[in-house]
Symmetry: C2
Subunit: 316 residues, 2 copies
């Protein structure tokens, strides 16, 4: 059977029809324009679904359900969105609103959860029944799969590991607290650490000058310089990778999943990141009684969210 998946982001809406082989056999994309009213955005989501169906040569009756990945906290059972800062939504009934356009079952989940489910079905965590996907970008997101099913949390907030405290009274966080994991493990954190090193040790950071100054520096600039052997960038990157390893250790010790998967922009650094982080992982107290932790890079690209949303639809 086919399912429709919708990857709803702050920038774009991507809808697709996904077949049993997890291939997207028809798709459509639109701008989200999140400043519009909720109803207008949902109307466009419905429009994108219709276009994707038409491009797949299918009618509404040919698909079993619609799944939606939402950037925010959702109540999958009620079909509502508690809060999405990206979309400016607060307590909206997304399932009911979609129900105005289709008679199909509609299921929603958090976008990180959808991506985690997609990885666990056809990506890096394929074949496992427990996993966490941690996305490292501007912030830190996570989705977890337990007993083969997404665990969204009691209030759609599971996996908010970016705002667990890593350093009591540490770096101030945008959330109002201090020392959140996100302040040490995000791309933003890597850039901050590089800027601090530059301010402390300059000259000697050609990569900062090449980037056009500290305010233009990106995580990719730091990683590329570290990879190329710049000593200062390497020191910064190693300190950063150690924090990422602590984050992974904490996820292993808390949930004991079969695998932790790293996704998001920073994971594009590939084996350079993975190998450095692995070098800082501390293994379980159980020693040889437990197989070594499995830490891998995400395998699915931009379509993970869409395919994951279709997989969520399948769980109806």
């Amino acid at each position: 059977m086919q399912y429709v998946g919708i990857d709803l982001g702050g920038t774009g809406i991507a809808a697709g029809v996904v077949n049993e082989a997890h291939e997207i056999i028809g798709r459509a994309a639109l701008k989200t324009l999140p400043e519009r009213p909720f109803e207008a955005i949902v109307r466009d989501m419905a429009e994108a679904v219709r276009t994707a169906l038409a491009r797949a040569g299918l009618a509404e009756g040919d698909v079993a359900a619609i799944g939606i990945g939402v950037p925010g906290a959702v109540d999958p059972a009620a079909g509502t969105v508690y809060l999405s800062s990206n979309l400016g939504w607060h307590d909206v009934d997304l399932r009911a609103e979609m129900g105005r356009y289709f008679s199909l079952p509609v299921r929603l989940d958090n976008d990180a959860n959808c991506a985690a489910l997609a990885e666990s079905v056809l990506g890096a965590s394929r074949g496992t029944s427990s996993s966490i996907l941690i996305t490292i970008g501007t912030g830190i997101g996570a989705g977890m799969v337990v007993n083969g099913r997404v665990w969204s949390g009691a209030f759609g907030m599971a996996g908010e590991i970016g705002h667990t405290t890593l350093v009591p009274d540490g770096v101030p966080c945008a959330c109002g607290r201090s020392g959140c994991l996100e302040c040490y493990c995000s791309a933003t954190a890597l850039v901050r650490m590089a800027r601090q090193a530059w301010m402390t040790f300059r000259p000697g950071a050609g990569y900062v000058d090449r980037a056009g100054g500290p305010e233009r520096l990106t995580a990719k600039d730091v990683i590329d310089a570290a990879r190329a052997g710049d000593a200062q960038a390497e020191r910064v990157f190693r300190a950063y990778a150690r924090y990422v390893a602590i984050m992974c250790d904490n996820a292993f010790n808390f949930l004991d999943p079969e695998i932790v998967v790293l996704g998001g922009g920073v994971s594009k650094a590939g084996p350079f990141l993975l190998d450095t982080v692995r070098g800082y992982l501390t293994q379980s107290e159980m020693g040889e009684a437990r197989p070594p932790y499995r830490l891998e890079l995400a395998r699915l690209d931009n379509d993970a969210g869409l395919i994951g949303a279709a997989l969520v639809a399948r769980e109806v």
Copy 2:
């Protein structure tokens, strides 16, 4: 239907027959004497089960299954114990060994998981389908329930939150790492903090002298002194309670359970602990979109492990 529950500890073995109302209708207790061979301990466990059955006036055929709570990492599916430091067990087939004495199905799980399940069925987290029980004693243990079922982890290690890092490069931990949560949130940590305060600020800590000196100080001494208004003990206790609050915040942000339950020796401090910790909890970023975190004290006492083991048996 009745089930047998066994609470296996490093000190004692408690077996009981538990009825549908979760009452223990027959019980037996023996010393564990963990220096003995594995087979001898299991023989005594079987003996305790037989005694408990006889005291309940039942035969083996009157119960449906046997559940065992083990102090260590277990593989519930395989019925084996990966590692129990308390018992000196390493990769033993507990289910097979018990099978030599009974033809009943045997199921095992970690003892913290059993207690968490018992709390979620008839204790503080009754009526919820997701919860964490965190036990605060010499160390920190945790058991979690997700979707109404215990989540033991892929390798029986879920809930090892005592060894998640709370302070990178912090206080050295017995596990060989540094800054583990256990070094800030256990009863041992509270005593260490009180001793440090005493060394720094003495005189002025009558409670340390009354305890017979810093080396005799217990967590209860510190808590009692703080409750009685000793200024130094109060400062220490507040600093400690703040770490406990960070631990609870982290559990909420990671797993988003309906409730976090505090058990173990330190939880005997009751509302004095609970209210102080609650004062340091930071609420969710979602603000009013999410109901406030529910943090409660465990309600079941010493029988939680035994009843929880019987509940695990029911899951066969």
